[in-house]
Symmetry: D2
Subunit: 417 residues, 4 copies
């Protein structure tokens, strides 16, 4: 059994998890993280390569004839200040691409992904006689900016480590621990991030008539952008237009000369995507004209994620394996999510199927005396979401155990005959 | 004549101006500036005290019996990046009160004020036989944040350097060089700067429904604030409500948990001021409710300026002296300005009259071949205003000469019998 | 065959259609329409009752033993001015519930529904030997305001004409003629219409500061309402919030004392419906506070439609019959629509299944030389939608033929053994 | 004395006032009003001409040699529903230029102007021996739409009734009864009324993506227009941009194809006027582009008022006469008002001076037990303003008396030697 001995391994995995949680690093800056994980893979006996796609790590575990299974976890954290009061909470800071210092937190749970992958690999090493084939342990950087998978591919990933037969990955979600969630077909949205810079004319705060106020222009754009999803996208189509950042001005009595917005767009359909992006351009340009702006706005892409599609037949095979292993009550079909992922690029580049699933990480029963605790809301689907400063799993041990089991159970479809 | 020998002094004053322009410093950080000016005053033979109100400088020039005249210039610059292409343009940077590094520029012309004050003092020293009395040369820090005059007063200014009989000050403006502008009575507005923090609930950019979006809330507030001046203030009353800064969010796919606005309010009438401040509170609070904000907003003062009132009779005396010295064609009555000044606090504290006037600093004739140059617009009143990255005087020598002459001519009312 | 002789009947049905199209009537005012149809049903030999639910008509066609099938068409038109240039275009006017005169048009295609129902009944009469059972021909008033079905039920419909075994209905759509569209389960949205009245304080247009401007308040509400769908509803949930009417003020220099909005809300899920309605109330109330309104707003329901659910098994039976009759290429599965219908109330009240489907009414091939004609866009799904002043079917004869065939084919499931 | 016997005349004038108040008529529809007044003038012995400028009335009172003084009152009322609870309140209705029925009210106090003019004429007739010269009693229609004075001039007024030496007029205001208010120079604003029609694409309320929503477009324009006064007009310049009417849509589930706004602009300076009108056009056009409107908006003038300027020397003469007659405590200098008037056109056309003043019409002392009564606020300048449904004078007798006295006192400057 691939899971033999897992019980005894959980305490150690929980320590690894706490260490990773306490030391988060921003995208493409996962130096310490990569070093810790590479050492761990090497200690387990894998051939380890670091620096793949800047900070990525690949471990190869060969165990005789058979298919090659790629297991992938992502390593980067987010510029978020943790507010959950666990003893191992992050106090880390980092420097973002704009050169600004920022608190950093594993607010998207990549620490659980990495820990589960290490756990699965160590189980595979410990139970070599239970399987045959090859496992590629891929620790990808920079998932949050949609660039890490492509960076590893651009760094010769396929030539250096391929080919492989299937790619498997997973992501924690705001759901009860030990439960798994699968979605055949389109699972996660295409994402486009844009930087919009609008130009006014600066001046003294007391003399607005000598200026073109970029703050009012930016605010008007934000209000107008709401109409795209509300009025221009068909009600049964899915689109999200988020203005996640807005920045203009410094001093309270100096009207600035420009303002910057960061937009994030999510869509499931290429036509809707085109329509939304065109509407953004139309609105931004026209609002600048309404303001009498002296220069047209600039709209530049920051990054982008492709659609993530699960291969339907392979998803069904994984679902069957999960159901047999964990019972139908713990395996759920889920709907497409507006979140995004670059995991799919590995299998797309190799022309093989891939499956990506969610595992729950919260336990409302842990808060019997505090129904107001945000995590107590998980049963009603209102627990803190990814990227929230409160996104810290509660049921750590059962969460990690099930995540390791899920990777092993799915991989066994190919590795155990 | 107090102005004897001024012609020969202008080239040296222009060098001082260029040096000050090239080395601007933020409020209460005027270390180098204070050091340069203190040395200059000491070299001229004044008793010099530094560190008055943190970085302020006071020079005392005694010349026999007679009234004491306070001449004041302000020293601080602004967090603005200079774009005018003069060879002595600023490349300086500073660190603002939030700890953020920023370009710095004399975008409000305080460099001309300081240079003119040094020039006037040096003329008074050079022409000691032409006058009698005492001159207080006050180089004030932190005018831009409305705190420098109060800081000097709080540091015992009156006890240490008072009493005095009149306070005189001046400010450059976007008008033709050699022209002077006076306004009896209320001259500059009361200013209130506020920091507004609104709270939402953060989350992933793809899941707006799990959040309360503070960017949309802030944008809605900005749009709604426009209605105060447009609808709630009587058309013939004066009010300005500027949102000079807006900041929220960092990463393009993380909806932030809060947003911050910096507001600047200008009024000439205490009732209008109360009405405008109450409307701001009403709108900010209600917009937070409209957003379903989990916490009420916070509205905190950043700083404030009092009304600046010129003593009417003293202003008439100065006007008469200017008219006799420069001709009626160069002396103009001007209307109250929405800009603000803390100059008035010195005279208010001492219970004596004060006069503050504007002098022009631009020459459209310098751009005969470039009517599109922003400075070419000065004749039509559309030159770059104070706090603009283009606010650099063109006619430097005539501007400085007239500013020195104006100080000497006004001071002579008390010093020359 | 129920369709025997249909070819010869089409020209006469087209005349009936043109007559109905030329004489549209508003909801609950369908006097002429009811009279024309009642006469036609009587001429065909049915027992006819008029005035059911004010202007509704019920015809009973008994033909031996067997199930009772309810066939329903709706009769009312809309306050829209027709701009399509067919010779039989409407020049009718009516008086709306507010007492205002308005142009009237069959902009939702109820004229095709009525004509098809008459055609089907006349076919059943003409082919009595091909079926047995009872047909209830229900011509319902006031579908557009969601009140007609309930009015007929409140008028004793079930006691007077029931029971029945199944209810069948259909609606024209912007799709190619001869094609049919079915959706098992939830097919059409719940709709809630609300009247929002906001109060300001009126006054002279030149003195806004003496007023509370309800126009600005209403505009701010409209902009803020956009955020409900854009930010508060999950991206994969369906909701529509439309402000279909806004009215305030009369004279250009009198600021009015109030403003009125008419809202229309569409949802597929009761939780989403509650959330959206709560958000509307929250936003309207808070915006009134932001305006300093002297009185709170009033939010009153205008009307409402329930969800329309097609019985899944019955829908499959209809689909099978359609596919056999018209070929799989002409029968499509469609997705839930945000439009609304009160058709479902008949079957709900009777506790029997019902099915409602769409039939296409446009033919892009009719505009080979005019690709810019709005109807030429039907292939791309961008033809004029219902309630548009251009919503007039192009392929009248094939459209009517297929609509009659569809009713007969579906009814035959119960009537032909 | 021109005022001899005025005491006895007041009760009759109050009856006339109540009659006029109870029977208000819209602009250019002043048929009954003109008839009542013409009869009254004829009974007093004047030569009366009716139908001057459609419904205007001119009475000529000749009394020997001497100057000709034009006294003018305006006759029209407003489409406002009266809510003040006086027994003689208006229940009248009228039909506005759009053909819509509307309540009508003398909400701008023209009834007091007419009554005072009749009173003054009757006093002049009764005291013929106290003066000599000619009086033109001008009862002008359609002041509210800025068209009545021009219509009378276009109807040959100068040729038929001129020349004259001075034009005098007055307007009630929200101030204490018996007080008079004068303003030399520019007294009232230029007014421009505009009709803005924006075009979208109509459709079903449930399918916003098939439409271009003109309601959202109109709301966005309203919000954006607020920035003109708030940001583009210098704080010490005067401008008002009012959206007094907004209309779109009829049925709650039909998205309309267009929306209409009525704008009213007030300015005191031609440059500001140009700037504001240009900004309106810029914003309306750009917002339509932001909406993706299928047709550009239309902006059409409704009407316009010129600036009203009081001749400075003549105003001083009237002020001196008022001060002598009523005491300095009852004569006040007032500031320019943003309201508008076409009175000035008569004197402009004739090339003679004119003076227009305000008289108070309210008495807060009448509400000793009801400090919450809106009229009780007159002392603080917050009584209901003109065009409000509550604008009904409280102190009728003293108000009328002072208004008659004011006309006679001013006219006596020319008529009594």
């Amino acid at each position: 059994m691939l899971t033999s001995g897992l019980d005894d391994r959980i305490p150690d995995l929980e320590l690894l998890y706490r260490d990773l949680h306490e030391h988060p690093e921003l995208s493409f800056q996962e130096e310490r993280t990569a070093s810790v994980l590479a050492a761990r893979l090497a200690a387990a006996g894998l051939e380890v390569t670091t620096g793949v796609g800047k900070t990525g790590v690949v471990g190869v575990l060969r165990n005789g004839e058979g298919p090659t299974v790629l297991l992938r976890a992502d390593m980067d954290a987010l510029p978020v200040q943790e507010i959950e009061k666990v003893p191992y909470r992050s106090r880390a800071t980092g420097v973002d691409p704009d050169g600004v210092s920022t608190p950093v937190m594993h607010a998207c749970g990549h620490d659980t992904h990495m820990t589960a992958l290490i756990g699965a690999v160590e189980q595979l090493v410990a139970n070599r006689d239970a399987w045959s084939g090859t496992v590629l342990a891929v620790l990808q950087p920079a998932e949050e900016v949609g660039s890490g998978a492509q960076a590893m591919l651009d760094d010769g990933f396929l030539d250096r480590f391929g080919p492989f037969d299937v790619a498997l990955g997973q992501h924690i979600t705001s759901a009860p621990s030990t439960h798994l969630y699968l979605c055949p077909g389109v699972f996660m949205a295409a994402a486009d991030s844009l930087r919009v810079t609008v130009y006014g004319r600066g001046g003294h705060g007391s003399a607005p008539h000598t200026t073109v106020d970029p703050v009012v222009l930016a605010a008007s754009i934000v209000m107008r952008l709401q109409t795209i999803v509300a009025r221009e996208v068909a009600p049964n189509e899915v689109a999200v237009v988020t203005v996640a950042a807005i920045h203009a001005g410094r001093k309270e009595n100096v009207i600035p000369a420009s303002a910057e917005l960061k937009l994030n767009v999510r869509t499931f359909d290429p036509d809707v995507r085109e329509r939304v992006l065109a509407a953004i351009t139309r609105i931004v340009d026209a609002e600048a004209e309404a303001a009498g702006a002296p220069r047209p706005p600039e709209i530049a892409p920051i990054n982008g994620f492709p659609l993530l599609r699960n291969d339907v037949a392979t998803t069904e095979a994984v679902r069957a394996a999960f159901t047999e292993a964990f019972g139908a009550g713990h395996v759920h079909e889920t709907t497409p999510k507006t979140g995004s992922e670059d995991f799919g690029l590995f299998a797309e580049a190799a022309g093989v199927p891939s499956v990506f699933w969610n595992f729950g990480g919260f336990d409302p029963a842990l808060y019997p005396d505090d129904p107001a605790h945000p995590h107590a809301a998980v049963a009603s689907g209102r627990a803190p979401g990814g990227h929230s400063p409160e996104f810290v799993p509660t049921a750590v041990a059962p969460t990690l155990r099930r995540a390791v089991e899920a990777l092993l159970t799915a991989a066994a479809i190919w590795l155990v005959r």
